[in-house]
Amino acid sequence: MAEIVGAYFTSHVPAIGGAIHKGIQQEPYWKPFFDGFPKVHEWLAEVKPTVAVVFNNDHGLNFFLDKMPTFAVGAAHEYQNADEGWGLPLYKPFKGDPGLSWHIIEQLVDDEFDITTCQTMLVDHALSIPFELAWPGVDEWPVKLVPLHINTVQHPLPSAKRALAFGRSVHRALASWGADERIVVIGTGGLSHQLDGERAGFMNSDYDRFCMDHLASDPDALTKHDVHEIVRLAGTQGVEILNWIAARGALGAGAREIHRNYHLPISNTAAATMLLDPA
C-alpha cells in the first residue's frame, strides 16, 4: 500500500525562477525567502517521496477559454514544461504516474466530481518552480507526478468548500492506492497578491496568517469565506489559496505543522512555504 508522507506548500512566483536562474538566492532581497528551503530539503531527504500529487493552477499555458475546466486531472506518461511567453529556459520533463492518475480519476467521478481528464498536459511555473525549489539542480526529478489543476482564472471559481472536498476525495484515492509508493502532496501558489486593476500590489498578511494558522489544525475554517470574499481578502490572484486548501484535504484528516516561512514582498506577492506531517 502507498503511504502519504506529508504535504509541502509554496508560492510559485515566476520571479523566483529568475532568481534561481541568476543564482542570486543569497542576495538580501531573496535570502529571506530561500531561507525557508533548507528545512524543506532535510524533510524531503527524510520522508523520501516517490510520487508527488500536485494541486496547482494553469496560467494560460495549457488551458484557454475555449475549454476552461473547474478541476482537471493529468493522466499522462510524461509532462512537459513549455515557453509561457517570456522565453525563459525550460525545466526538465516530469515523469507521470498514469496508473495513480486513473485511480484518482475513478475515485473523483465516483464521489461526483465532474473533472476534466488530460492525457496530455503542459505544466507551467506553478509546478516547475515548486519542484526546482524542492530539488534544486537535480539531473532528474526524484518523484513521479500527478498534476491536478484548479480554475483560478475565470469566475465563477469553485468555492473553498468545494476545493477542500475535492482534495478529500483525492485523499480517499491515495489512501486506497495499492502500489508501494511514498506520496507527497503539494499545494502551490499564493499567498495574498493582486496583479491586475488599480488595487495592484495589494497584500494582506492578516488573512495569510489566518490561513497558515488554520491550515494544519482546522482547514474547514478556510472555507468560511466565499470566493468573492477571498478575492477581497487575498487579492485577485490570492485565490490560489484554493490549491493549498485542496492539497490540505488530500493530506488526510489530521495534520501537524512542522515548518513555516513567510516573507513579503517577493515580486508583488506575500510568499510562504510550509510543511505538514500527517497526524
Binding site: 484557454f64 511567453g85 516573507h263 515580486s267
Partner: protein, 130 residues
C-alpha cells in the same frame, strides 16, 4: 437561485463571464504569444497581427496605447495579458506601476512598505500622496 451580486471590490475587475465574453479576441491574441514565432510576428507588424485576431476598437486602442487598465476593462485577463507585457519587456511591477499611476519606484516602495509591516491601505496612501 444564485446568490445576489456581491459588493464591488475597489480597484478590482473580476474576470467573470461578462469580461470573458467581452475579452475573447484579445485573450486569444495574448494566448498565441506562448509561441515565440507569434511574438516575433506581433513585433514585426503589430497592426496586421491585431487585425488577424479581430480585436475590438477598444481592445486595439488599449494595446496601441500600452494601456494596461484599458486592456483589463476591455476584457483581457491578467494571465494572458502578462504574455503581451512580456513582449514589451514589462514585468509585474511595471504593470502595477502603470495601473496605479504611480512611478515604478513609488510602486516598489509601496510593496516594500507592506514588507515592513504597513497595511496595504497605509502603504497605498503614502504611494499616492507622497
Amino acid at each position: 437561485m444564485v446568490a445576489p451580486p456581491k459588493q464591488p471590490i475597489p480597484g478590482t475587475h473580476l474576470f467573470d463571464g461578462e469580461a470573458a465574453a467581452k475579452g475573447l479576441a484579445l485573450n486569444a491574441m495574448c494566448y498565441s504569444f506562448n509561441d515565440a514565432a507569434n511574438r516575433a510576428a506581433f513585433l514585426a507588424d503589430e497592426e496586421a497581427y491585431c487585425a488577424k485576431y479581430h480585436l475590438t476598437a477598444e481592445q486595439r486602442a488599449a494595446v496601441a496605447a500600452r494601456d494596461v487598465i484599458g486592456m483589463i476593462r476591455a476584457g483581457d485577463n491578467i494571465y494572458y495579458l502578462a504574455k503581451l507585457a512580456g513582449i514589451f519587456g514589462l514585468n509585474v511591477q511595471d504593470v502595477g506601476s502603470m495601473q496605479t499611476g504611480a512611478s515604478l519606484a513609488a510602486f516598489n516602495e509601496m510593496l516594500a512598505a507592506q514588507g515592513r509591516g504597513e497595511t496595504y491601505e497605509t502603504a497605498h496612501r503614502e504611494m499616492t500622496h507622497g
